[in-house]
Subunit: 212 residues, 2 copies
DNA sequence: TAGATTGTTAATCGATTAACAATC
DNA sequence: TAGATTGTTAATCGATTAACAATC
């Protein structure tokens, strides 16, 4: 209700709620309780209610939440109710995969431009988008009002690319390069590299299953 | 020191520490303090010391940590000091990118098998690995002692694939499908889909920059 | 030695969960 | 109405940070 500072944990759960609610819409289910969502998503119902209540009173006591209404609210909170242009830097295998992935981004989010440092790739297209040289980065971001960025360049280039993106006014970065990107500016950065995730997973391997 | 339960937050930081320590090795730096690591990685030095101290006394008072020794210790903690075979399910664009990414996985981790439901893909190779039909999943996992899995199949297939993997004895799953995978078994699952991450990022867009 | 830095305890901060009055 | 379920406060739990004795 009071727009206190929202924790990152809450923000990361909102897309999960949204996805399930969209699923319910497809199933023609119109009302849902925190208990039901909690059961399906394996979350505590009180947590779901508290998360949602931090943005407003979206439910009805004794009834639950109206699915359509809640979808609308969460999409608004996540700013998915407007067009968001995304730039992708690094047209290698991973960048290629993500841009073809464009279908997933639907919901008003789309990759609007792709950049790569390799001159050999210039002019070629990915998913119908021409690959541009890094020199054009700032201008394209400004003129096309691009606000989020995905980095899929090799590790040694990632921080520099991020610095350029931030200087150009990008407001959020999803970084897949295997290096932690930093900034002292007010830009949200998610580091999401595959290597680190797999290494963390390895921690949980069961010693007892070792063959030795 | 006492092997109390280690929080996931700690486990996620270990690969970050490791990566920076490997970088220091390359730079021929032999000793490092928690203060230095904290400065570079933007973390609280006390947190770094506490994280490491939960596994043993790796440092020297007044001196700091020996880089080589700490690398060895973290690699052991993360179980990266042994061969870990990984299976990839879903040979689409993303799966393709990640398997070519194989270079990154080095450190004794490698993609040992690739599966796909599409009969048209069978027999073709990615990065030198033949794509196999899902029917062979269980047997391959068992005979080749595969312990971790990466899921890059479409959302509707993801949960079923996960169930099969878990039934086959997989101990950890990195899921890129845009759906939260669940299990009641003792298997670690990281959900890492691009769509959710971008949607969370959108939350932080600056209202003031809206063009309206 | 004096300065630096760890490992660890205590303090703080924040997030999750439980409980329940309000109410549909 | 009785049962269900929210929004919210209080309790609990856990993670981060500060502080400092030990010691290299």
């Amino acid at each position: 209700m009071k727009q206190a500072k929202i924790s990152e944990a809450v923000v990361k759960r909102l897309p999960i709620y949204l996805r399930y609610l969209l699923h319910m819409q497809q199933m023609q289910i119109h009302t849902v309780s925190s208990q039901h969502i909690g059961k399906v998503l394996d979350l505590n119902p009180a947590q779901i209610r508290k998360d949602l209540a931090s943005f407003g009173e979206f439910g009805k006591k004794g009834i639950g939440y109206d699915v359509d209404y809640l979808v609308e609210k969460i999409r608004h909170i996540l700013k998915l109710d407007r067009e968001i242009a995304v730039v992708l830097v690094g047209a290698g295998h991973l960048g290629h995969a993500i841009s073809n992935y464009n279908a997933y981004l639907k919901d008003n989010m789309r990759i609007a431009a792709i950049f790569d440092a390799d001159p050999a790739k210039l002019g070629t297209q990915i998913a119908g988008i021409a690959i541009q040289p890094l020199e054009e980065l700032s201008e394209t971001i400004a003129t096309r009002n691009i606000r989020l960025a995905i980095i899929t360049v090799p590790a040694p280039a990632a921080q520099k690319v991020a610095d350029q993106l931030i200087a150009a006014g990008i407001e959020g970065i999803l970084n897949f390069a295997p290096i932690s990107i930093r900034t002292d500016r007010d830009v949200k950065i998610y580091n999401a590299d595959v290597t680190s995730s797999l290494q963390s997973l390895a921690f949980y391997l069961n010693e007892k299953k070792e063959i030795t």
